[in-house]
Amino acid sequence: MKIACFHLMPYRDLADDFEKKHKSAWFSLPFNEVADPNKVAGYFNQTLDELTYAAQMGFDGVCTNEHHQNAYGFMVNPNMMGSVLARATRGTKTAIIQMGETAVFLNPPIRVAEEYAMLDCIAEGRLIAGFPVGLGGDYSYSYGMAPIEQRARYYEAHDLIKKAWTSDQVFAFNGKFYQLPMVNIWPKPVQRPHPPIWVPGNASPSTWDFVIKNDYAYCFLTYFGAKGAEHMVKGFWNRAEELGRDRNPYRMGFLVPVGVSETDEQAEAEYGHAAEYFYHKGLHLPEQLLAPPGHMTHSSLTHLITKRPFPPFEELKTLKFPQFNDRDFVVCGSAKTVTERLLHIIKTLRVGHLMILPQFGSLSHEKTMQNIERISKNVLPHLRGVWDNEGWEDHWWPKACQDAKRAAA
C-alpha cells in the first residue's frame, strides 16, 4: 500500500458570507477584492512546509496539482512546487507526484515533457508523472481554448510527450493541434523509458479506457465520497477485466480528505468548519463554469443529464459536517475510527494508492501540521500492509522509491 499526501493550496481565510457575495469561487472571482497577497505568500510556504513535513513523517509521496483563477486551490504551476519538494526530500524515498502539470494548458505541450524530465533529474528518479485531462473551466475560461477540442488535444499531447521522452531520434511532429519541426528534448527523464504515469479522473469512461489500454495507474478524484464512488469504481474494474488487465490494486488511486482527532466527539470541533468551508466556498462553482458546453462528449453529456450520477454542487451547500462525515465525503474522527473507515474504503474500492488530503478548506497551518502528525503516527502504520498478502507489485511507483526491505522480500 502506498499513501501520499495531497494538497490543493486553497485560500484559507474567505469571509463567512463569501458565497453569498460572489457568484463563484472560480474564474470570475476578483483577486484584489478578496485576497491578501501577503496571506497568499504565507499559504504557499505553509503548503510546502506541510508537504515536506508529511514526507518526513512517513508519507510515501507528496502530490501537487494545477488549477487556475480560483480560491479553491491555485498552484498554477505544480512543477514549481514539485521542484522545491524534490530538493527538500533529497536522499529519501519520497515520491514526487505531479497530479499534475496539465499538458493541454501549454502550447507546445513538450514543455511538460521537458519540465517533468527536469524534475525527474532534480528528484533523482523519484517523479510520478500525472497526466490530467484538465478541468474544462481551466482550459476554456482561464486559457481560452474551445471546450470541444480538449480531449482530442489531450490525446495528441500525450502521444507527443511520450514520444519526446522515448525516441532516440530527433523527429518532426505533424499533429492536428501541434506541429514541431525538431523534437529533441534536453534533458530526458532519469527513469527509463519514462516515469510512471498516473491519470487523475472523475469517472469518465473514456478516460478509463485510455488508462487501461495504456496500462497506466488511475486516480479517482471525487468530491462525493467513497460510498458514492463504489458503483463507479466497480465500473473501472469491470472495464479493466474486459480489456484483459489484472486486478492489481495499484491500478487504482483514491483521494480522501482526512482529519484525525483525539476522540470521535472532538472531530466536529476540529474539522467541521474546514469541511463546510471546502464544500460551501471552495466548490462554489456553477456547473456551466465547471464544464463549458462541448467539454464533455455527447454521450458523456447525455449520461450526465439524463442519469444525474452526481448531485449538483448547489446541493452541497445544504449539507453540514455530520453529513459530509457520515457519507465519507471527509473521513474524520479518532485515529481508530479513521483507520477502520480508510481500511474499508481501500478494500471496497481496491485502492493501492491512497491520497490523503490533510489540509482542506480553512484548516489552519497549525491544525494541519497536527493532523499530519496524528495521521502519520496513528493511522498510516495500520494501512501499509493491506495488500501484502496478495503479493502484487506496484509497477507504477518509481524504482528509486521502492522500500529496500520490501523489494528484497
Binding site: S140, A146, H298
Partner: protein, 267 residues
C-alpha cells in the same frame, strides 16, 4: 406551421453531410441559425410564404449526428462547407440571412461567394469586435439559465420567448432538450471561442450584396453599437433598429422584422 422536408447534402468532397430543412415556394432564401441551434419559428414560417426557405443545421447540431462537428476544425472549414452547400443545392443566386452566430457565417459566406448572394440580411450578427464594447463567446457559455433569459431577451415573458425556452413535457424529453441545447452551444463555440473576432474585419469589405443590418435596441448580449459597425463596414448597407427588442428579433419583434426583411429582399 408548414411541413418541413429534409435534405442531406454532401460537402467537403463527401467527408461531411449537411442536413437542410426546407419549406415554402419561390426564390431561394438560405437562413443560418444562431448558436442556440435550428428552430423553426413563426418568423421562418412567414418567410416561407414568400420564399423557398433553406435552413441548414450547423455541423454537429443535426439530430442523431453529434460527431459531425469533428469534421469542422475552424471557421474556414465552416465557410467552405456552406460554400459547397450552396453549390450542392444548385443555388446560383440566393438571398442569404443569418442571425447572431449565423449572421457572422452569412457575412463570411457573402465575402467569399460574392457572385451568388443577391441580398444579405444580418440579424444581430457576431464577428466584429470593439474594445469599447467587448463581448465574448465564453461569457455567454458561462451564463446560468436565469442569466440567459435576462441577457438574451428584452421581455422574457413574451409568448414566443416562453414557447421557445420551455422544455418539452416529460422528464426524459426535457433532459434530451437540455442535452441538445448544451451540445449545440459546444459545437458552435468551436469556431468562435473565446472571442468571435476571427478576422471578418479583414474580409467584410468584399461583401458586395445589398445588405440589411437589423438589431434590437435592447440587445444585452451583443451591444447595439455593432449595428453601426456592420453598417460602416459594408458598402451597400442599411441599418434598421428594432425597439423593445433584445438579441432575438425573430421572437421578440417578429412582425416588424418580417415586414422590413421582406420589403428589403423584394426591392
Amino acid at each position: 406551421m408548414k411541413k418541413l422536408t429534409k435534405k442531406v447534402v454532401p460537402v467537403l468532397n463527401g467527408r461531411l453531410d449537411i442536413t437542410v430543412n426546407i419549406a415554402g415556394k419561390g426564390k431561394p432564401l438560405v437562413y443560418l441559425h444562431s448558436a442556440g441551434g435550428f428552430y423553426w419559428d413563426d418568423y421562418l414560417d412567414e418567410l416561407a410564404n414568400h420564399y423557398k426557405v433553406y435552413v441548414p443545421h450547423f455541423p454537429g447540431t443535426a439530430p442523431g449526428r453529434p460527431n459531425d462537428i469533428d469534421l469542422i476544425d475552424n471557421l474556414w472549414d465552416a465557410v467552405l462547407a456552406y460554400d459547397d452547400l450552396l453549390a450542392g443545392l444548385k443555388l446560383k443566386k440566393v438571398r442569404l440571412m443569418g442571425h447572431s452566430f449565423g449572421g457572422m457565417l452569412a457575412a463570411e459566406l457573402a465575402a467569399q461567394r460574392r457572385e451568388s448572394i443577391e441580398k444579405l440580411v444580418l440579424i444581430a450578427p457576431i464577428g466584429l469586435y470593439r474594445e469599447d464594447a467587448s463581448y465574448t463567446c465564453a461569457s455567454w457559455c458561462a451564463l446560468s439559465p436565469p442569466e440567459i433569459m435576462e441577457v438574451l431577451f428584452h421581455d422574457p415573458n413574451h409568448p414566443r420567448v416562453v414557447k421557445r425556452m420551455t422544455p418539452p413535457p416529460g422528464q426524459e424529453a426535457a433532459d434530451l432538450w437540455t442535452v441538445h441545447f448544451v451540445w449545440t452551444l459546444g459545437c458552435t463555440a468551436k469556431i468562435i471561442w473565446p472571442i468571435p473576432d476571427k478576422g471578418l474585419h479583414k474580409r467584410i469589405h468584399r461583401v458586395t450584396a445589398p445588405t440589411l443590418v437589423v438589431w434590437g435596441e435592447n440587445d444585452r448580449l451583443i451591444p447595439p453599437v455593432y449595428a453601426q459597425e456592420f453598417g460602416k463596414s459594408i458598402n451597400n448597407s442599411e441599418v434598421f433598429m428594432l425597439p423593445r427588442c433584445g438579441h432575438e428579433p425573430p421572437l421578440e419583434q417578429m412582425e416588424m422584422l418580417r415586414d422590413k426583411a421582406l420589403a428589403f429582399m423584394a426591392a
